[in-house]
Symmetry: D2
Subunit: 334 residues, 4 copies
């Protein structure tokens, strides 16, 4: 039987997920959609052969909805996820899980109280082939313990609305989730260093930034966030271990000899870079949900990301190293 | 509405396609399966929630079958494909389309007589990301006309049952289909050169072989087939154009610094190398079939592959260049 | 006319330079050598067709000595260099120029007082092909201003005598000299971070270390020093600019497909990595000396390296960022 | 004592060798030069502090000449080399050793009659770092026996005076010498295939060409010669062995991320590609000559190159495979 999915929020990313569920993945169908803009919801419902529900609440509680996808705007996430938990229905929530660490904590508490993991957060990098290859190598411990990570998150350009703190909350947030998973460790401290600025930035954005995280076991992580790097979308992850250094593969393009250069294309768009990861993420969520389990990033991961992002923003504001205090991961999530 | 698919042949590759259709792809369901071994067919039918049909003919002509997948053994392909054409049903046939060029020609004639393209042949390389990237570059003609292609088809090892002619019919057959599509040209001549033999081969297999094809416009193609190369499964394709040289990307793995080496894994298994291509191939076949079109390699391509393979085998046997005579491609297939 | 060179110190590196001057380079001859161990000096003199002088002073002031190479142990450098300046003779001094910043300052003052640049310090990296290629790109400013540098200095293993401070004075000292030259900027601050330690280190050595330098214009430099990395000798230098990222070439070795890996050898020995640079350095020193100029790293660079190394050691000891105060570069050295 | 060298021919390459000997290498001095244009010889003599001799004969036989470098035009080589042999003086002769195989044979005979190896031919590739790395791997036999070689010799453009046969005599001639040395085998047959022509060629030049050589042990060698490839000077050499494939390193340049590309410069000029090889070649010739030995390509190699080139030209003209008959290598040269 196909998993009957309801989608809350039919903006750009919501539409993409509806399209994905209806035309690219196996084992699920979108039964109903809703949106703050009901006309839009109606239009999308028609286009993909689903029905429109007037509210998130009615959608979540409809008897023909087995699971919920939350793709509304950030401030609406917490309420929708809590309602899904209350209804005992599995819910996939795009990042952020909630706009505050406290909101994430509320969800964690509600889920623990409900006694069953229901929530997955839309951190798709864990489903990217490159990161999965690294994860496999980390689990094999073939090169000893990891000691340092060097990452880059480079983006061609951002517009004027993007400011210094968004380098954490919109950009590094992906590394925040992905890296602690990769090395199976907890964050301890956060620091942000501001190198010389590029001429391509504006007054409210310090660009590039060098974010430095440490973990409880002492691993040092540097993340270069450079959102006006001009040249492309460039995600790198290198792990320095005791006996070897492992680096994520570059995206795969033909090599070309032309005009005195040996070259390969670089991605310039985050969507293209992670398009396959989105598909895999959602297919595995469907498969896991049908089995009644959550295997992907859960509510606790959403909370950790929020606390870590808060510490990095504090570090940006104060120029100091900041302690990341998430408390211990509840047994419920282990 | 899901495309209702019937699968003829539930051996290894048949089971893979059933699994793929039921659990990984969108828009299709396996409704019925059959096999020469009815117990096996019954078992697979049960496992995947389909029903068993006793013969290919009954499966093809069942009213709840919209399209057919032929994955029986080679000698049974021609009959099944002809029956599907007779029934006016779209059919995806694993390679070879038929075991002889004449058999392929029969299918071409039947399809033309039926007045509608129904047949797709399972040459999955056209759906591989690496080849698709090359195809896109060829269509852009950004580097001028192609003049030469240098390809390798290297495989770690084969067993004693693999002989000299199978280097053409089992191995180079993939390049045969893929390369003329890539450069949009027709083959003219075939030649095979036998270099010094590896000590890892046996008396009935000349290994490696250098196959040389030319096209009607004069493009020179060399294909190194080396099926006991020991080190991995290594598919390369380089196109020398008038203003640049384009080479297919290597499969994507992390780079590792360890033990005085900078290294990347190489594939060692053809299935892993082309696993994604199989998924894309079948998803696109579903999508195309629902639209009533054939976009992939068709019956004419199956015929061209058979004629070209025959010429290469003749070239192996005689040591001489051999003319490849397919006749002109009927307008029906353009 | 060949430049007549006297060599002070005939230990390992002294012998290498004598060998280089006598058998690999053009335009110079070793006329005399001396050493604290006169028997060794005598032996080397005989082997290479030079004569032995009893003291550095007599060697420097011999009328058939045009220029001096100082390869004695570190504590003897300052005296020898000052004597060469007093004698008005060009002098090439292996690093360190002096064992203290004060000693370097004395040399700077003496040279300025003498009114002519005579001193070159043996920082050979500026003559390495890889760094020279980067320098050329930096001078072209083809990718805008440099904003960040990411460097590694990895070494397979060190013995028990190597301690934490030597990561600065013996290892990072090369980056210290090379990097400010590369980006044509002055250092401002120094900081050292200690990641999780490798199990291959000992109690008196924190390994790896992450050194962070900033420059007056704000460029951020991270140098990973990892001297027990096990896998090889691995010098990397990446420069993040406003419009592009430039990375030094890996040492050049054949690519090999073998045992399911695509690999290249990595260097494991610093001498092999920089062997060509030593030859180029000395040849250019000969050529420059004959023209009466100093083009390589001079006394001021030796002083800057000493002050910067002191700040990094202070940063190691205190855990804090440390200001690097060299004062302004005298016009004499511009 | 420095080797006293006389140079016959002060055109472009002669001047380069004089410059090299006087300013870059150790252990030799140019004592005298001559040229068919005595004014030019006089000018070069003055510039580099040598004297002018009026004829090759007088230069060769001057008592202060220990060894001779022949850099006159090709047709004058044979006479000069024979005179040097007659005078018992070591001679380094730029390629070709003689303009005909018969001329080369004359030199071989004269040298054998003289009873001592004196002649080295200017095939500099054997001194290139890339080829030396391959040679070392071949000698180790770490990957089993070589079975096939795939080489490219690509050049950006040639002028109208360059015709089809020059693809052999001026271009592939370097591979001809280098490859049989690399695999320590003798050539057996030669064949030339003409792919589709580039639009950048002219009526008297077939471009590109695919040259196919076989060796006595059965190794198959393909050399793509493409002299109007537009994009750069691109020398590749890949050796397919029984257990692995070895490929010569690309020239070493920084990797650059810029404008959505990850790229490295490619060489565009053969002189820059092999500049280091010329220096090493000449330094080793100096060193070997002082020891009284010939270690580089000798007269027999010059003869083999001439015979092989003749066979390839015949193969071009006739379209057929051509037998390469050099006879056995005399013991004198083993």
């Amino acid at each position: 039987m196909d998993l009957r999915v309801g989608v809350i929020g039919t903006g750009a990313i919501g539409q993409e997920h509806v399209h994905r569920l209806q035309t690219k993945l196996a084992g699920a169908k979108v039964t109903a959609v809703t949106d703050i803009d009901l006309e839009r919801a109606e239009r999308i419902a028609k286009k993909y052969g689903a029905r429109m529900e007037k509210t998130g609440y009615s959608l979540i509680n409809a008897p023909d909805i087995d699971a919920v996808v939350v793709t509304s705007w950030g401030p609406a996430h917490e309420k929708a996820v809590l309602e899904a938990i209350a209804a005992g229905k599995p819910v996939f929530c795009e990042k952020p899980l909630a706009t505050t660490a406290e909101g994430c904590k509320n969800i964690v508490k509600a889920e623990i109280a409900a006694g069953k993991q229901l929530v997955q957060v839309g951190f798709m990098r864990r489903y990217d082939k490159g990161y999965k290859q690294l994860k496999e190598l980390m689990e094999q411990k073939a090169y000893g313990e990891p000691l340092m990570l060097r990452c880059t998150h480079r983006n061609p350009a951002v517009d004027e609305s993007y400011d210094t703190s968004m380098a954490v909350t919109d950009t590094a947030i992906h590394e925040i989730d992905c890296l602690h998973w990769l090395i199976d460790d907890d964050y301890a401290t956060a620091q942000v260093v501001f190198p010389k600025e590029t001429k391509y930035t504006h007054s409210r954005l310090k660009d590039p930034q060098l974010m430095i995280l440490t973990t409880k076991s002492g691993i040092n992580i540097t993340i270069e966030v450079f959102v006006n790097c001009q040249f492309g979308y460039d995600i790198q992850c290198e792990i320095v271990c005791e006996e070897g250094v492992v680096k994520m593969a570059e995206p795969s393009f033909p090599t070309i000899r032309s005009k005195e250069k040996l070259s390969q294309k670089l991605e310039n768009d985050w969507k293209k870079r992670f398009i396959d990861a989105y598909d895999v993420e959602m297919q595995e969520w469907i498969n896991d949900t049908k089995k009644g389990i959550v295997n992907g990033p859960g509510a606790w991961d959403g909370y950790v990301a929020a606390v870590t992002a808060d510490a990095l923003v504090k570090a940006q504001e104060t120029g100091k190293a900041w302690v990341i205090e998430t408390g211990n991961c509840p047994d419920f999530y282990k």
